[in-house]
Symmetry: C2
Subunit: 294 residues, 2 copies
C-alpha cells in the first residue's frame, strides 16, 4: 500500500470520527458549529496520519489509533484557532478559508479552542477498546499534555511571540520550532508507538526520527513561505518576511536552509532504518515532507 | 476541627503545591509568571477545599487530594483568565487586582489559560501515590474534562455570552449556571468521592448535594451583586444590572431569590445527612455559602 491510498482511507475515517464525536456533544450549537468549522477546514492531517502509519509499521490495525489520532488533530486545531486570534498572529485566512474568529467572533473562537483542547483529553480517557489498557491511556495523556502545554506547544508559541521583530540565533529558532510544532509531531509518532507496545529502544529511535522530521517540516515551511505559491499554501506567501520573523533561509541563506533540510531528512531515514519495523509508509511521509509544495 | 482552621491549613498546602508545580516547569518565564499571577490572586479556593473536605468526611487523609485539588483550581483559574478577556466579559479587575490580560497582555493571558488547562490533566495523569490507581486517575480525567468542556463549563460560558442582553426564563438561567459554575463544583466533590472510593449510592447523594450547593452558591452571588459591598467582593457591585444580565433577584424578586436560596441549602443538607459519612465540615461549608458576604 502506498501512502497516497493509505492516507485517503484514514483521512476519511478520521474526519468521520471527529465529526461524529463533536456532533453528539450536548452543548450549545453555536459552539459545536465553531469547533466543527475548524476541524473540517481540511489540511494535510499529518499528525493523525503519523499515528496510523506507525501502527501499520508495527503490523497492527491502524484503526486502533482512531481516537488518539482524532484527539491529536483536535489539539492541533485548537492551537491554530488561538494562534490566529487578533492578539496573537492576527490571521484572516487559514487553509484558504476565513479564520475561526473571522466567522464566529473572538469570544466563540477562544471557547471553541478551549473546548477542543479539553475534549481531546476526554476522548483518550474514554477509549474503550480491546488492547488499550488504562496504563496506555495515562501514558498517552501524559505524552499529549506535556507536548501541548507550557513545556511544549504553548511554551513555543509564547517564545515565538516574544521573538517577533528580534534577530534570533539558530539555537533560539530551533527552541521555538521544536516546541511550537516539533513536540506535537513527535507525540503523534510516540502515541502510535505506545499503542503498538513498542520497545524502549524502538521508542528512542522513533523519537529521534520524529525530531528530524519535525525540523525538516519546519525548514520546508520557511522555504515555502518564500518560494511557494499562495494558491497552494492557502495563505499569503512572504508573510514571515513581512512580519520580520526569523526563518531558516534568513539565518542560513536559501542554500544553507536547503542543505539543512536534506541533512535532517537523511538522519530521519537513518533512525527509521534502525528500528526493525516495516517503515515503508513512514519513509514515504518523510520524502513527501522534503518535497511538499504546500 | 472547624472549617476555619481546616481551610487555613489546606489552603496553605494547596498554594504551595500550585506554586511549586508551575515554578518547576521548563517554559518561558513570562508564561510561568502569568500563570502564577492568577493562581496566586487568592480567592476562597472553594473547589479545592471541597475535595479536601470530602476526603476528611470519609475519614481519609485530605493530603491525598492535593494534586487533584490543585488541578481543579488551575482549571477554575484558566476559566477566569479567559472569561475576563476583552472579547468575553472585558473585566479589568478580579479579586481586587488587575486581570491577567491587563498586566501581561491578551496574547499571554490566552496562552497562560491554555497552559493551565493543559497542565491540569498532566498533573492528574502524573499522580504517583499509594492508593491512587490508574483507573481512579482515568475516572478523574473523565470527570474533569466532561465538567470543564463543551458539555460543562465552556458550554455554560458560551450560553452565558449568547444570553447577554436577553430576558431569560428561569430554566435557561439554571442551564447556564449549572454548566458554567455548577459542574466544576460538583466535580470537586465527586473527585473527593472517587479518591475515597465512595459507594455508588454515596456518589449519587454527593452529586445531589453538590447540585444544590452550586445553585445556592450562584443565587448568593447574584444577591451579593446587588446587596454586597464592593470592598468585600473585590469587584464593582451592580455590574450584572449594568450589563443587563439575567439574575435570580431579577427573575424572582429579591425575596423570591432568598427563599430559593434557603430551599437549596435545606436540600443540600438533607442529601448530606443521608450519606452516612462524617459531614460536619461539609455542613459548615454549606452554611457559609448561604451566609457569605464575598
Amino acid at each position: 500500500m502506498n501512502f497516497q491510498s493509505f492516507s485517503e482511507t484514514y483521512k476519511r475515517a478520521l474526519e468521520q470520527e471527529m465529526q461524529s464525536q463533536i456532533s453528539k456533544l450536548h452543548a450549545p450549537n453555536s459552539l459545536k458549529e465553531a469547533m466543527l468549522y475548524s476541524l473540517e477546514a481540511g489540511g494535510k492531517r499529518i499528525r493523525p496520519m503519523l499515528v496510523f502509519a506507525v501502527l501499520e509499521a508495527f503490523g497492527q490495525n491502524p484503526d486502533r489509533g482512531i481516537s488518539v489520532a482524532a484527539a491529536i488533530e483536535m489539539i492541533h486545531t485548537y492551537s491554530l484557532i488561538h494562534d490566529d486570534l487578533p492578539s496573537m498572529d492576527d490571521d484572516d485566512l487559514r487553509r484558504g478559508k476565513p479564520t475561526n474568529h473571522k466567522v464566529f467572533g473572538e469570544a466563540t473562537a477562544i471557547l471553541a479552542g478551549d473546548a477542543l483542547l479539553t475534549y481531546s483529553f476526554q476522548a483518550i480517557a474514554e477509549i474503550d477498546m480491546e488492547g488499550v489498557t488504562p496504563m496506555m491511556q495515562l501514558e498517552l495523556i501524559k505524552l499529549l499534555s506535556r507536548s501541548a502545554g507550557a513545556e511544549g506547544m504553548v511554551g513555543g508559541q509564547m517564545a515565538d511571540i516574544e521573538a517577533e521583530g528580534k534577530h534570533l540565533a539558530l539555537e533560539s529558532l530551533e527552541y521555538i520550532h521544536s516546541n511550537k510544532t516539533g513536540k506535537l509531531l513527535s507525540a503523534s509518532i510516540l502515541a502510535g508507538a505506545i499503542l503498538a507496545e513498542a520497545s524502549e529502544r524502538q521508542k528512542t529511535l522513533l523519537l529521534e526520527f520524529s525530531r528530524h522530521l519535525g525540523l525538516a517540516f519546519q525548514i520546508r515551511d520557511d522555504i515555502l513561505d518564500i518560494e511557494g505559491s499562495q494558491e497552494k499554501i492557502g495563505k499569503p506567501v512572504g508573510s514571515d518576511t513581512a512580519n520580520s520573523k526569523s526563518t531558516y533561509p534568513a539565518l542560513l541563506s536559501m542554500d544553507g536552509a536547503k542543505e539543512k533540510l536534506s541533512i535532517h531528512i537523511e538522519q530521519a531515514l537513518l533512525s527509521l532504518a534502525k528500528s526493525g519495523i516495516n517503515t515503508e509508509l513512514l519513509e514515504e511521509v518523510t520524502e513527501m515532507i522534503a518535497a511538499r509544495d504546500h
